[in-house]
């Protein structure tokens, strides 16, 4: 295939567009970093872009200080997020496989409805969830919030897994059948290994959604000790930071960014399969 040759002007324009896009994405992050590591006095109007000195005192105060939120809220968020990720992965795999493989006439319609519903913002689910949870005794419990997270992530998860399974040639399942494998063995040794990238994507998205969730736990988890860092951080700023201590807020937020980056770094290789399905079929 011939590469498209660009004139010098086109290359310059392309470069400019790329740089602008990168800046657009990175600047907010860089700004938060700049705010988080500067002394509190320098975070008031009029503000300088680059602080005169860098300090870790904000991070220290938020996480480890006498009034700080500590690491517990982050632990809570991790537990809720991971649990939700596991439940979402299982539910999505089962649902996605059914939709992909079985000729259900309503299947397409169901899929679209499910997907449309998943676009409802989490905040709009708060009131119904509150009523439901109060009535069923799930209010304030970790099981409750985890289920709420999973319910929010599963629709998209099913859609993604259905897509993943559609990509796995049904030939392979037929071959396994002919080879004498039952449904369980086929699933375990043929289908699931090939579906792993999809499952990881679904689990990762579910984890991130749960990890970042604010409005749901704000209403559904009244007990301070059980709150995730999103809620705890906001309460801390309100109480200790006079409602507008941006350096403290920025530090706490950055701390919330770290685990997500770690997750991505670890899984990045596995999310893109190398030398996978392409060789199953002649090739």
């Amino acid at each position: 295939m011939d590469l498209i040759r660009l004139s010098v002007l086109q290359r310059v324009v392309r470069l400019v567009v790329i740089v602008v896009a990168i800046l657009f994405t990175l600047l907010p992050l860089l700004w938060i970093i700049s705010i988080a590591f500067r002394p509190g006095e320098q975070a008031v109007f009029p503000i300088s872009i680059i602080p005169s000195r860098l300090t870790l005192e904000n991070v220290d105060a938020v996480l480890f200080g006498p009034f700080g939120i500590g690491l517990n809220p982050y632990k809570n968020a991790a537990i809720y997020g991971l649990s939700s990720a596991i439940i979402t992965a299982v539910a999505s795999t089962l649902g996605g496989y059914a939709l992909a493989r079985y000729d259900i006439r309503a299947g397409q319609a169901v899929l679209i409805v499910i997907l449309a519903l998943s676009f409802l913002p989490a905040a709009s689910r708060i009131v119904p969830l509150f009523i439901l949870f109060s009535a069923s005794g799930l209010y304030g419990t970790p099981q409750g919030i985890i289920l709420a997270y999973a319910a929010g992530s599963t629709p998209l998860g099913i859609w993604l897994m259905a897509g993943t399974f559609r990509q796995i040639p049904i030939r392979l399942e037929q071959a396994a059948r002919i080879d004498g494998a039952g449904a369980l063995m086929t699933m375990r040794r043929v289908i699931l290994p090939l579906a792993v990238p999809g499952i990881l994507v679904v689990a990762t998205l579910a984890f991130i959604d749960g990890w970042n969730s604010y409005s749901l736990p704000l209403i559904l988890i009244p007990k301070e000790a059980a709150q995730p860092y999103t809620v705890a951080l906001q309460a801390y700023i309100r109480d200790v930071g006079f409602g507008n201590n941006w350096t403290l807020l920025a530090s706490g937020s950055l701390a919330g960014l770290v685990p997500v980056l770690v997750v991505f770094a670890l899984l990045q290789r596995r999310l893109v399969r190398v030398g996978g399905l392409g060789s199953a079929i002649r090739g």
Binding site: I178, D179, G180, G275, A280
Partner: protein
Amino acid sequence: MRLDIEDLTVEYGSVGAVRGLDLTVGDGELVALVGPSGCGKTTTLGFITGFIHGRTGRILFDGVDVTGMAPQRRGIGYVFQDYAIYPHMTVRENIRFPLDAAKMERKKADKEVDEIAGLMGVGELLHRRPHQLSGGQRQRVALARALVKKPVVLLLDEPLSNLDAHLRVEVRAEIRRLQLDLKMTTVFVTHDQSEAMAIADRVAVMSDGKIVALTQPTTLYIRPPSLFAAQFIGSPGINIWTIDGPDAAIAHAFAKPLVGEGGGGLLVGVRPEHIEVGPGDLKATITLTEPLGRDFLVHLSAGLSSIRALVPASEGALLKAGADVGVRVDPDHLHLFDAETGRRVEIDAAGARHLDEMFGGGRGLAS
């Protein structure tokens, strides 16, 4: 193991993919199912496997009705056209998979794998993954996987279609040798008639969901039971002229020794390789010569009719387009078909016509 299919009918909506098909494959026999795309050959294979269910039809393994049996319990070896080997497993794991499914002890299974891999010539590749193999190698892995469980019947669905032309001839001979050594009952599906002819004990020609010819390859070539079979087998294709149509002159000229002045309602067929160019009563003009290497394909026209002749290169090189030549045919190489039904017609000594009995037969000359 002897395989019987009785009265199979498979419908896709209102379109009949297979209609009233009967087939018997003897123990250790290789039957080729050949026909154009959509004729129902893969569907028939699917029925043998158990993935496709017929509206009517039974299938018997050694006389036992297995129609309701699930695919995984039938003990079938299947090679797909696109191999369908597991991409995330090594070659060893691929070949061993059927044995794992049968819960064979690991050490014993690995020994079986080594044996079959050696037989198939992939012994050196056991640690590789499919994406590290060539097309021919993947195909052998697929074959090894099918054979490792010592199946009762081997089914192959156009296994050579994705290989290069050179490889195809080599691999088909290997498959045939293997099949003969193992005395494996085999059904081989292909759209390539020369492939079917080359390796089968019997060839089943299919068209539109039915078997229209079922006989040994040489018989199919020498005495095709129907017009369809005659046209399908043999390349370049047979010449066909209608006695009642615009080809009357040439058809009469060739067929006179057999039908005299009669011959109404008949089609006359002669294979290009049986047309002699040179001396002859019938005059024709050469329109084009195609050098094919060992032979020349010569196109001629006589009046409104066209003739294709296959001659050795030494002859063909001397022929020039535009030249007038004579053509003749040995009456032994004439084929006659009924214009209405397409069935083969034999003329006896008294001049009476007989329609061929083998047409549409399912049991044929089962061993």
